[in-house]
Amino acid sequence: MLFTEPTFLFLFLPILLALYFSTFRRVHSSYGNWLLLIFSIIFYAKGGGSFTRLILGSIVFNYFVAIAVDRARGSTPSPRPAARRCLAFAVAANLVLLGIFKYTNFFADHVNTLFLLLRVRPVVVPRVLLPIGISFFTFHAISYVVDVYRRDATAQKSPVHAALYLLLFPQLIAGPIIRYRTIADQLARRVVTLDDFAYGVRRFVVGLAKKVLIASAFLKAMAGLGRAAPTPYTVRWYLTSEVWLALAAGAVGSTPWVPALAARFAVARRPAVARSASLVATATLVALLVASIMQVAAGTYNPFIYFQF
């Protein structure tokens, strides 16, 4: 499942939010964790299919190995050799898993190329499918065990919390890799306020707009230019005003003075200025959200007469 799919935007996300906030509490712990874990498994299973079992198996492994590292580490300032061996085993096992799925065919192809040059019969290696998000997942798991080894955090005793840390769907398939110590406390108990939710909405809307309005316009243009011969015609045909607008929006949006200016307006001494800035920011975000949703809908459309209007 992708964040830009209608199924995610209009079904998965609203149902999850409705169930998550159905308790009408600001403090979220056990119920919210179970819910997030179940939805994260559904999220992964939707795209990952049979690899879900592999990921769940890896979670079980890392859960127990982190506890083993924690016990072997003890409370001494310098780690015992047993803890180091445990850590090395955990890191190696995670990397082997990554290596099998990500690099088996890569190495086999290169070795076979060499064998062809040497007139040696090539090695037959079946095609290994790549589980979605295996890289992020692996390094996430390694960072968890390393945090426990360094005593930056204690090993998670709750399998639900450990699984949620590794499987939480917003970062599961594309990162970023969040250090376990950063969110260990929030896994057990967290408070969600309107400010937090609004901040999350802002981040989500901006990210969605970057993906479906800016990145997609570029992707189409670059893919078209890559296929076509570089003539003035193809440049005019693919680099439309839409692409230039996306380029300008991306350039302006990525400059550091935009958030600095927004922050300055937000804390303006004159209340009228701060209110106007807040109004403009909200209107812009709502416009971006609606434009992104329209683009998502247009992406599902296959026009009958080659025309969408």
Binding site: E5, P6, T7, L9, F10, L11, L13, P14, I15, L17, A45, K46, G49, L194, D195, F197, A198, V201, R202, F204, V205, K220, G224, A228, A229, T231, P232, Y233, T234, R236, W237, T240, S241, E242, L245, S278, L279, A281, T282, L285, V286, L289, V290, A291, I293, M294, Q295, V296, A297, A298, T300, Y301, N302, P303, F304, I305, Y306, F307, Q308, F309
Partner: protein
């Protein structure tokens, strides 16, 4: 303003599924060049059947979520009237409200991106002259014509900005 933003966000992501639950189908089945996905039925509670159902349900939802056709129309209108670009890569926007078919390299042909090589033109000429000679020997008239495309017919409203040079129209003569 935070509350407004949160309310707008929740409304936008909730309304399509709510419309489906209220019986509103967001699809316009006569406007698409394919058969839209049908609402699937669950056959058994095994993992493969659940997976199949999940995929089929996603396909159905992608086609039928509430307000879909309206959002597509809005998207097309904004691209056309605000950004000034064609809503579809298969259609080129011309002048004075004219639109032209752009698939199958139609615009490339018009813009002479890949004109025939002199060898190819010579081959065509030879083939046509040979055919003409064979038919004339049997007292059969031979007329060769190339059907003009819409871009050629409506020359004045063509996509001038895509033109690199004028189209050659010289007759093939012996």
């Amino acid at each position: 303003m935070r509350a407004v933003l949160v309310f707008a966000f929740l409304a936008v992501i909730t309304l399509p599924a709510a419309a489906n639950l209220a019986g509103h189908d967001g699809a316009d089945p006569y406007a698409e060049n394919r058969e839209l996905a049908a609402l699937p039925r669950l056959h058994g509670a095994t993992i493969p059947s659940l997976r199949t159902y999940s995929d089929e349900f996603s396909a159905w939802f992608d086609d039928h979520f509430g307000f879909r056709s309206m959002l597509v129309r809005w998207s097309g209108a904004i691209r056309l009237f605000v950004l000034g670009v064609s809503p579809s890569r298969s259609v080129a926007k011309g002048e004075d409200g004219w639109f032209f078919y752009a698939d199958d390299d139609a615009i490339e042909d018009f813009a002479r991106v890949t004109p025939l090589t002199p060898e190819a033109v010579a081959n065509w000429r030879t083939a046509l002259l040979r055919t003409n000679g064979w038919l004339q020997a049997r007292h059969v008239a031979y007329v060769f014509t190339i059907a003009p495309t819409s871009t050629c017919c409506i020359r004045i409203r063509c996509l001038r900005r895509y033109r690199s040079s004028a189209i050659s129209r010289g007759p093939i003569s012996s």
